[in-house]
């Protein structure tokens, strides 16, 4: 792990405060109450008061569910928050990361000193007072039937698993990986989660457990996938020109990268085992930060399936193409290796409340870089990476963070 001197750069901001809920089946309370709790905890962590916040960005409370008309305005009233900017950002899986980027842009514009980003996802059917889905089955079905577009959806695509299953199958074909190699990823992530009290799945599992779990969409089995979950997270971002002393050391966001390819799920020409969006967003983020993949000590990535996780490692440049599974087998992606990937337990074992996931990733990396992670602390972590994607990795965002 090489170290470089920090250069003075434009367009940097820092994370001043973080908070997140445990990941669970249901939060069991309304979104606005969860948001208030998250904001209070993050403000305390940052040593700030509510009136210090001049930007509020959120994700919709039901990411893939019915629209949440003006939720952010209702939330601002609930929190009695006066802001120079308010926004609700939706872009599939990257929503939480896009919300962070929107808040960063306000800081870079020079309009904002402190911005709060709050992302909450709660299983649609488990929200308090949720309308019984049977009452509006017709509308729900009409939405669901074309959720994956008017061409793919008609073949019964109701969740993204089949896309990722075919991607996993191609990865096996192209690089000689096996289902056992995928299972090792799930085991590694579960080991990480076993030391994270906020994780939904903490009981140890073995390669055999993964291999014996039932096929959802071959080659992907139940334990290769991240089930729907509920949870929320908040980060408070700060303008570097703020001079007031804060209780915790700043965690700098030194690089941001983003790219979207126009394919919606299945690419007409491109590969389904390597993704332009991940490569280009990582290259941009590293370049802006003046860092390289080898500099990363700890990373949280949006790998929603075991095989996908490996492809992301490769496209980020952390391991060579087609060698992600070998790296995991050799213990290079965990404690004692080159870098610790998803120390939180990742999407598979921390759990995956989709809208909140990118923000939770940033919370974990910030806590790692501050050295607050106790049993799962990555020793001496100085450089961290956060990655999120949407579609079938048609779009990605990467943040590089440093202390």
């Amino acid at each position: 792990m090489r170290r470089r001197g920090r250069k003075r750069r434009k367009n940097v901001a820092y994370v001043a405060g973080v908070s997140m809920t445990p990941v669970t089946r249901t939060l069991g309370k309304p979104h606005k109450e969860v948001a208030a709790e998250l904001l209070a905890e993050a403000l305390e962590d940052a040593g700030l008061e509510k009136n210090d916040i001049d930007t509020l960005v959120v994700t919709p409370p039901n990411l893939a569910g019915p629209p949440s008309f003006m939720f952010v305005c209702a939330l601002a009233e609930y929190l009695d928050l006066r802001t120079k900017h308010i926004n609700m950002v939706e872009c599939g899986g990257t929503s939480g990361a896009m919300a962070i980027k929107t808040a960063l842009n306000e800081i870079f514009l020079g309009r904002t000193e402190f911005a709060a980003v709050i992302a909450i996802d709660q299983r649609f059917d488990l929200q308090p007072g949720q309308v019984d889905i049977n009452v509006f089955m017709h509308e729900a079905l009409q939405t669901q039937i074309c959720l994956y577009g008017p061409y793919d959806s008609l073949y019964g695509i109701g969740a993204p698993i089949p896309y990722y299953a075919m991607s996993a199958q191609r990865y096996m074909e192209e690089y000689g990986a096996t289902e056992e190699d995928f299972a090792r990823v799930a085991v590694m992530l579960r080991n990480h989660a076993s030391k994270n009290p906020l994780a939904e799945y903490r009981d140890p599992i073995t390669v055999e457990d993964v291999l014996n779990s039932r096929y959802l969409s071959p080659p992907l089995k139940l334990l290769d996938c991240s089930p729907f979950a509920s949870g929320g997270a908040c980060v408070i971002l700060a303008n570097p020109y703020v001079t007031r002393p804060l209780p915790k050391p700043p965690v700098w966001i030194t690089g941001v990268g983003e790219w979207h390819e126009p394919d919606h799920f299945i690419p007409q020409n491109g590969s389904i085992t390597s993704f332009t969006s991940v490569k280009k967003s990582a290259e941009e983020a590293f370049e802006r930060a003046g860092m390289e993949p080898v500099d990363v000590d700890v990373a949280e990535v949006y790998g929603v399936f075991t095989a996908t996780e490996l492809m992301i490692y490769e496209d980020l440049g952390i391991f060579p193409p087609g060698e992600g599974y070998i790296a995991v087998k050799e213990g290079k992606a965990t404690y004692g290796g080159n870098v610790v990937m998803n120390p939180s337990g990742g999407r598979l074992s921390l759990g995956h409340p989709a809208a909140a996931t990118p923000v939770m990733e940033m919370v974990e990396v910030v806590r790692q870089l501050r050295g607050e992670c106790g049993e799962r602390q990555v020793p001496g972590a100085r450089c961290g990476l956060v990655h999120a994607e949407h579609g079938m990795l048609n779009g990605s965002i990467v943040f590089v963070l440093e202390v």
Binding site: H138, Q142, I145, C146, G149, Y151, L154, G156, Q169
Partner: protein, 137 residues
């Protein structure tokens, strides 16, 4: 439930698709397998669109897509909204270059990446006919 799914599918195509998706499914209903073609750019576009995304002129021309292709990847769904288990689906690369998601009419175990496949049609209801592909024996 199956009846309801069928009933809302045509609504859904109109609501979430566009005029080209409607026309595409009208063609399929008549067992015609076509996509849009830009005369100015001399380029085929799939999925079909009203306007060429290259020059933004209206594409009036629909051209045949090949009824043969190669199996690029495939899987099987345990649960599917439309078809019961085993629901084998795959990505096919047509000989005319388009890649599409389709139903595969063969047991999962008998399939291999790179297999040659051939177009067939499945009638769903009075409005909807879907494409599907079978391995070439």
């Amino acid at each position: 439930m199956k009846e309801l799914i069928t009933k809302v599918t045509w609504n859904s195509i109109q609501h979430y698709g566009d005029s080209a998706s409607v026309k595409y499914y009208e063609f399929l209903k008549n067992r015609i397998f076509r996509t849009t073609y830009c005369d100015t750019c001399q380029k085929r576009w799939f999925p079909p669109r009203k306007y060429c995304p290259n020059c933004f002129k209206e594409m009036f021309k629909w051209v045949e897509m090949a009824n043969t292709g190669t199996l690029y990847a495939f899987t099987q769904q345990e649960r599917s909204l439309r078809f019961g288990k085993p629901d084998v689906i795959g990505i096919v690369e047509l000989d005319t270059g388009e890649r599409l998601l389709t139903k595969i009419n063969a047991p999962f175990e008998e399939l291999k990446i790179g297999m040659r496949v051939k177009l067939e049609y499945i009638e769903i209801d009075e409005n909807i006919t879907l494409h599907s592909f079978s391995p070439v024996k």
